[in-house]
Subunit: 135 residues, 2 copies
DNA sequence: CCTTCCGTTTACGTTAACGTAATTATTTGA
DNA sequence: TCAAATAATTACGTTAACGTAAACGGAAGG
């Protein structure tokens, strides 16, 4: 079994964050490395959690929101009430994500238009230059 | 021409934010309402800017980033250098947006899986209930 | 005339998510 | 063995994006 562990600086450099950031996540209860003497030791599970948290950050989620989403994954659901509430939570989150995709698509469309104008403007200059060089 | 204008509370309620928020955006130079006496008067252009800023927020952009993106639209570009730099900016932003879409898709996939488990769990209970009711 | 709504200004408060020392231990390679 | 690198703890600092409260001005309605 790989059962690999990681030091704090390994994870920090892998994910492009500072060790301070990772310790901060621990303060907030987002990860729970164990200790070898004084040093923190991170499991593969910790690593995944950090990865998911950073993914959340990229799409504008707070740390708490990311944790909530991550926690949806662990199947500590017993009764029907909890299951129904979970389904609700998921569908709400899903709606927000779809909205975000729409927002992104809109923005991408806008950027494409601007890009088109840019290239058009540059094209004219190239023609001028070509004409100049031919003479 | 419609040439419509808006009061601060109209915009606030339309977009579901407080007037404080809109005044804050003005402090930061994101909008420039003119005055009628003391009162702020917003143009359609101001309205659009606010809309775009809030769109940016939904996908995790800072106010400054939103402004930068919005400013890409106004064609105050003169020389080739500026055009090339603009193209660069656009392609970087585009890359980030595509990354975000991937992140969202990953998260949606995860949520679907959890949802599947939920429904499976609920299904079993329904069977039990059905069986109970038949007896 | 008085109150009730907007609206404005000024200014201090708040939360999230780290940054930035300063100080102290531990380990490790020259 | 000594210095350099790596880690930990403690604690104050910072930025963004508003919230909240106080204090005041015009206007509209009963």
């Amino acid at each position: 079994m790989p059962n690999q562990t990681f030091t704090i600086s390994e994870l920090a450099s892998e994910f492009g964050v500072t060790t301070r950031t990772i310790r901060f996540y621990e303060e907030k209860g987002l990860v729970h490395p164990f200790r070898e003497g004084q040093k923190r030791v991170y499991t593969a599970a910790d690593r995944v959690r950090i990865k998911l948290i950073l993914r959340g950050k990229r799409i504008g989620m707070t740390l708490q929101e990311s944790v909530e989403v991550i926690d949806l994954y662990d199947p500590q659901r017993n009764n029907t009430q909890q299951l129904l509430s979970l389904i609700n939570t998921i569908s709400e989150r899903r709606a927000r994500l779809l909205q975000q995709k729409d927002d992104i698509d809109d923005m991408l469309t806008g950027l494409s238009e601007v890009l088109g104008l840019c290239e058009k403007a540059l094209g004219k200059r190239q023609k001028k230059i070509s004409a100049t060089q031919k003479n």
